[in-house]
Symmetry: C2
Subunit: 167 residues, 2 copies
């Protein structure tokens, strides 16, 4: 496998994986491309490389910046904007964990809390609803703590120690 094959394989794998996680293909591929690019890339570069339209590129770059994993850069004396990805994969994971917690986990925890606190009317179905949503609430809470504390730790010693311990 040469460089170009490896690069394409990586980009398309990342793209396919993205769709499995609710991230669209273009967004995941742009991210993959920036991640392995030693130099910042312009919008033209990205469009060219991935064969996607200007509009698509612009919108997905914006989303990646909203996620805090892609940044704008300006080259001196050039008007064009360039883009880079967060290159430290630990920091990348931290940022993704933080955002997914904020966008998905925390709203879900709130709803599980509301639902599990309805008044128990003594019926079996109400008992089951309360029991199961309470259990999910507890689990989601633990997951949230782990995502924010374990992955979110700078210099991730916890993960290292943990993996060593249980491997």
């Amino acid at each position: 496998m040469n460089y170009d094959e490896a690069k394409n394989k990586f980009i398309s794998t990342w793209g396919a994986l993205g769709t499995l996680w609710g991230i669209n293909k273009a967004m995941a591929q742009i991210h993959a491309l920036l991640l392995i690019s030693p130099e910042p890339l312009s919008m033209e570069d990205i469009m060219e490389e991935l064969q996607i339209s200007r509009g698509n590129t612009s919108m997905n770059l914006r989303q990646l910046m909203d996620w805090g994993i892609v940044f704008k850069e300006n080259k001196m004396g050039e008007r064009k904007e360039y883009f880079t990805s967060e290159k430290d994969v630990q920091e990348l994971a931290r940022q993704i964990a933080k955002e997914r917690s904020r966008r998905e986990l925390q709203p879900t925890i709130k709803i599980l809390n509301d639902v599990s606190n309805i008044k128990d009317d003594g019926t079996a179905k109400t008992a089951e609803l309360i029991k199961q949503t309470k259990a999910l609430h507890e689990m989601a809470d633990n997951l949230d703590i782990m995502m924010n504390k374990v992955v979110g730790q700078e210099h991730n010693w916890i993960t290292k120690a943990l993996v060593k311990l249980i491997k």
Copy 2:
């Protein structure tokens, strides 16, 4: 909030969350419904409750069974098939972690391994590709270990201890 409101809120939240994780709405909602149902439900029950077609119900029940989180049950003297969900949320998490590891993480790890082992031709771009895919490979490996060992542990003492420690 009364029982019906709470139930609908839970089912629709679970459905919306599913789509965010690459699971379709019907599949997630069927699962939610079974999870809070004290009794096994028939296909008719599910169709009725969620207002979806027979075909849709059949296909998504099959998928849930493939994931190992929904089971067929037969009631004595009845030809109709009934369905229940795994009710223990720890076991549910374990099963989901196991399947996602097998379906997504492991194939990805394999590709990251292949890509990161291309021959270093001395160019900056090759160096970057190798460096980043190696880093992702290591991270994916750790995640795989955690998913299979930490979540996969019966009587999940590690999570409990960990959460207590870092909370």
